[in-house]
Each structure stands twice: as structure tokens, then as C-alpha cells.
Amino acid sequence: MSSATANETAPTPIEAFARVEQAGGPLLPLRKTGLARFAERGFPTTRDEDWRFTSLKPLADLPFLPTLEPSDQAFNQTEINGITFGRHDVDRLVFVDGHHSSDLSLISDQPDGVTVSNLADSLSELKNDISSLSANDENPFIALNDAFFTDGALIRIPSNGRLAKPVHLVFLSTAAGDGQAAHVRNWIDAGDNAQGTLVESHLSLGQAATSTNVVTETRIGAGANLEHIKFQDQSDSTVHLASLHSELSKDARYAFHSLALGSRLSRNNLRMRLAKPGIECVLNGLYMTHSDQLADHHMIVDHAAPRCDSHEYFNGILDNQSRGVFHGRILVQSDAQKTNAKQTNKNLILSDHATANTKPQLEIYADDVRCTHGATVGELDDDAIFYLQTRGLDTKTARRMLMHGFAGEIVDRIQHDGIREELDQLVWNRLEDKHHLD
């Protein structure tokens, strides 16, 4: 069965809505519309072009029930420190199953006007913002998130402001029962000329087959410069669904890095809107899959204004029966003259049973543009192996080094030194642990 028909399994997310309705709140209209839109569409199937290679079968047997209550599991700071980026000096906002945990969060003094907090406490204020960037997306998981989101991060950097230190958003899934779904919503607003580094980690404690459905909207002001690193390393039994909608203003610079290592099924929908001239947007991703994992990155970079640059670099290392999916669409609208867009997707297949699907696409309506894309699937380069051999390295070491380099190409684009180094090490260890290197 290729279609995921969670609707047939009781109880349905739709029934859970009564509780949301009861709770009310300033976003109830949005939530209702979301529910209606979802009810109309249901879960996508592989007959939808956008989900052609990504079957939601893992969801089919699960109720996908929103976790509307915070979990009562107790952790302490030390446990959280032990997870990731604990040794860096960062501000930390922690969410457990979609609920903010102030006990686990650590927020220092950020400069005046900077907000680093949870979003649920500011809903009235955000009434007109939330969903303003994602509203036109047909993706039913956004509709579902509109209906059910519990909490998430609110980051605001005022014009000319900067984050004093990186902000680390930690999303933990701890639910013990299969089929729980945490709906997380983030709102990020960087004012004109604002600067900062944002890290987003998605991790799980325990092995339950839970789902995460996160929607992030990012508004990036004129001349702002934001680095956004997303690290997804949930347990292999989970489903991770994410949508990122970013709208960039004149001369803004935005780099989004995605490391997708965990989850049985992960899907990152990235929607970049380059609305004003002079923008530079980098989407940079690494997926490493093993066993029966599937990692999917699905992006649309919409060049709506002239003189913007966009670059997408995605590398995948696929082992066992796993599958890597890349769908990259560069859309250059007729006004977007002097666009410079580049897209590459490279895949290394390590086993006889792994599959790579790649769809790099260009859709161009302007004539004065430079657009290229490239995709490769294959083994390690024989010439490179020989070169390393002539320098005394045996084939095993050479292969490892090249594989590490293949991942390193992506990791190296992370500008924040500490985070890059930590992720580099982590990726390397993961390769050693989980993949056939020889």
C-alpha cells in the first residue's frame, strides 16, 4: 500500500481537535482552517508528485495523535548537556514533545530587543505573523500543524541587533507510546541588518515510534545575516516532518544547513522566497542513511527578484536498504534577471540495496540568468583513491578519508567554528559506527 491512510485508524487526529477547540486562544480561527484543510486533503500519497518517492507507510499504522499535554518525565540539565552542543556557550531553549521546558532551558542576557523565548506565551502578539509565510503551502502537514501546534521557539532580533551567542533550540521526543505526534511551531524574525547563529536539534530519548511535525517560519530583514543549522538525529523508529518557510529581504544572507541522520522517515520541506534583490541564500545538506531509513529533502527556491544568488549543496551517503531523496526546484520568475543559481546533489551508494532518487529541477522564465545544476550517483572516485594510494594510504584508509571528505564538503560550510567541529566529529563517528566503509 503506497498511501498512508491514518484516517482509517481510530482515534484520528481530527477527533483530538475537540480539546484544542476547548482550549480556544487567539489562533483558534487558524487552527480551525488548518483542521478543515487537512480533513479535505488527508495524508499525501505517492501519487502526489511531491511525494512520489516518499511513501508515508511508516505513518499508516500509527494514530498520529497530537501530544497535547506535556510529558511528566523528569530530566536534568546535566542530561541535556550530555546530548549535543552542551560544551558550547549557547543559549538553550528546550522543548519536550512540543512543550516548552523552562527548567531545562538556559537563557542568558541577550542584547536589548532580542527575544529568545517560547512562542505559546506570545500568541496574541503573533496572531498576524504565524502562518503568514506558510499559508500558501498545500502540504497537509502544515495544515495539521496549524491545527495542533503546541509550542515552539520565538526568536526576534531587532534591526541592527545581533544574538550575543548562538541560540540552540532543542526538541526532544520522549513519548513512550507509539503514534504520538509533537507539533512544533517556530517563528523567527531577524530585523534589518540583524545577525545571529541558530542551531536546531531534534533528538529522541527512547525508541518509541513517535512523530515530529515542525513548521518554522523565518523572516529575514534587509541586510540581515543568519546562519541556521538543523541537526536531526532522532531514533530510527521515528517519523520527522519539517517545513521551513523563509522570506528574505534585500541583500539578506541566509545559510541553512541540514544534517539528517536519524528517523526512519524524515522529510524536510524547504521553501525559500527571494523577494528582494541582492540576496544570497545557501541551502546545504547532508543525509546519511542506513537500515531502512529514508531521508528526503524537498526544496523550492523561488527567485522573485533580480540579482540574487542561491546555492544548494546536498550530499547523501546511503547504506543497507535505505533511500535518499532529493527534490530541488529552482524557480526563476520573469523579473528575476541576473539570477545566479546553482544546485548540486551527490550520492554515494554503499550497498546493493540502497536507492537514490534525485530530481534537480530548473524552471526559468527570465532570460538573463546563470543557472546550473548537477547530480551524481555513484561510487567513490577511482582516481582519488589511486592518488591517496600513491601517498602511502591503503585502500581502506583512502576510502574512509574520501567518505569523510564527502560528508566534510557539507559540514565545512558551517561557519560557526565550534559547532562545525563538533558536527564533523559526530558525522565521522557515525560513519564509523553505522556504515560499510570498506
Binding site: 600513491t390 602511502g392 594510504l393 591503503d394 578519508m401 571528505g405 564527502f406
Partner: protein, 249 residues
């Protein structure tokens, strides 16, 4: 030190080397010249052990060991170094990390202690200064985005660090500006000693002003058709290859 006897090799069914005899003693510098496509790079590749070449006959001895039975990395550890005509770009692999791994593999093989990061960096930075390479090369991926000349200098840096017994330099001079040429030549000359030897493949007599060869050989159509001392290089510069080719034919 190096003894090549009647070496014949080709790719698929196409013969390229048609019987090469060459012996190189410790302390010597040999230059190999010859027109495009004559088989110079093929010879270098066969010596280094590149896959895809079939050796159909002959043997190659390095200090009386049969080189042809060894894997490329074993040859490297035995002290064979090839400076590539077209050095390979290896995106994502950090140059310092790569070079230290190589140095330590070779040291291990020689029974020497491995260099730790500190000592390695110290050593490599000294060499880099000598070669006029900027230190930020170490941070970049191997050869990636290097200019042609930078790649060649990087080959020499690697050679200096690996300290080979036999260095084969395939057109390391092409694409270099005058200063770089002198730097590269200095690097090669510095390596020169009573225990090692160099085979320098080049198209230009100019390089041989800096790296003075003891012997010059002309390779044509897979055979050495003429050998002489360094004056042969001048003669070639002046007259080209035609007269030799006609003699040979």
C-alpha cells in the same frame, strides 16, 4: 636503484609502452623528454601502479624488489613518489589531515615514530615557507580550487614531506611562472642525496637549467630512442624531435 627491463604495457588492447629499458642509480637525476602522447605519463603511472594498465612483459625492480607485484600504497611506502601531471582534486578532504596521514603511514612502514599534530604542523609549515605556499592551503581540501601552479607546488610539498627514495615528476614544470619554477626546482634539488634518485619528465630544457640531469632520454612511441647527457636537451630544444624520429624509423 631502479631497474626497468623491457617494460611493455598498454590499456585494454592498445599497446603504449613497447619495451622500455632504463636503469637509475642512487644519486642520479634522469630527465625524460618526448613528444605528446609518446607514453611518458603512462610510464609514470605504471611505475606508481595505476589500475587499468596491463603490463604485458618486462619487469621493474626497486632495490631488487619487484615493484610490479606491489599495490600502489606499498610502492609509495617503499619510497616511490609520483608528482602527478594532473593532480586530483579531492573535495572535502582537508589537506593537513591528508598529508599527516600519508606521512605517518610511511613513517610507520619505515619503523619510525608517528608525528603528532604539533610536530607535523611545525614540519609542514617550514616546508611550506620554503616553497612559498601560504599556510591557509592546509585548511583547504586537497587540490580543490587550487590554481594549476598551486597544485604543482602542492605536489612538491608532499614530496618534501614524504622524502621518497625515487621521485618521478611528471611535467611538474608546466604551468609554473618563473619564480615558482625556481622554487620547485629548489625543492627537488634539496631532496637530492646519495641515497635517492629522481626521474623528471618535462617538455622544456628550461627546467633542466635548474635541475641538472645526469642523463636525458627521449621517449618516442613507447620506446627510448635516444639517451645522452644534458647537452641532448639543448639539442632537442634547438632541433625538435623530427631528426631523432627519422633516425629511429
Amino acid at each position: 636503484m631502479l631497474e626497468i627491463k623491457n617494460l611493455q604495457a598498454g590499456i585494454e588492447d592498445k599497446p603504449i609502452l613497447r619495451g622500455i629499458d632504463l636503469s637509475v642509480n642512487a644519486g642520479e637525476v634522469h630527465a625524460i623528454m618526448g613528444p605528446n602522447g609518446s607514453g611518458k605519463s603512462t610510464l609514470a603511472s605504471v611505475l606508481a601502479g595505476r589500475d587499468g594498465y596491463d603490463v604485458t612483459s618486462g619487469e621493474v625492480l626497486l632495490q631488487n624488489d619487484n615493484l610490479l607485484n606491489l599495490a600502489p600504497e606499498e610502492r609509495a611506502r617503499e619510497g616511490v613518489f609520483l608528482a602527478f601531471q594532473y593532480p586530483v582534486e579531492i573535495p572535502g578532504v582537508n589537506s593537513a589531515y591528508f598529508l599527516r596521514s600519508a606521512v605517518n603511514e610511511i613513517r610507520k612502514h619505515r619503523g619510525e615514530e608517528e608525528l603528532d599534530a604539533m610536530h607535523f604542523l611545525k614540519a609542514v609549515k617550514t616546508k611550506m615557507k620554503e616553497l612559498g605556499l601560504s599556510e591557509d592551503f592546509l585548511k583547504r581540501p586537497v587540490n580543490t580550487g587550487f590554481s594549476g601552479g598551486e597544485k604543482k607546488r602542492n605536489e612538491i610539498l608532499q614530496m618534501a614531506m614524504l622524502n621518497p627514495r625515487l621521485a618521478v615528476l611528471d611535467e611538474t614544470d608546466s604551468g609554473l611562472d618563473i619564480d615558482a619554477l625556481r622554487i620547485v626546482a629548489d625543492g627537488v634539488n634539496r631532496l637530492k642525496g646519495p641515497d635517492n634518485a629522481q626521474v623528471v619528465i618535462t617538455h622544456y630544457q628550461r627546467l633542466l637549467d635548474y635541475i641538472v640531469p645526469d642523463f636525458v632520454h627521449v621517449l618516442y612511441d613507447g620506446r627510448i630512442i635516444k639517451s645522452g647527457d644534458k647537452t641532448l636537451a639543448y639539442e632537442l630544444e634547438e632541433k625538435g624531435y623530427d631528426w631523432l624520429i627519422q633516425n629511429a624509423a
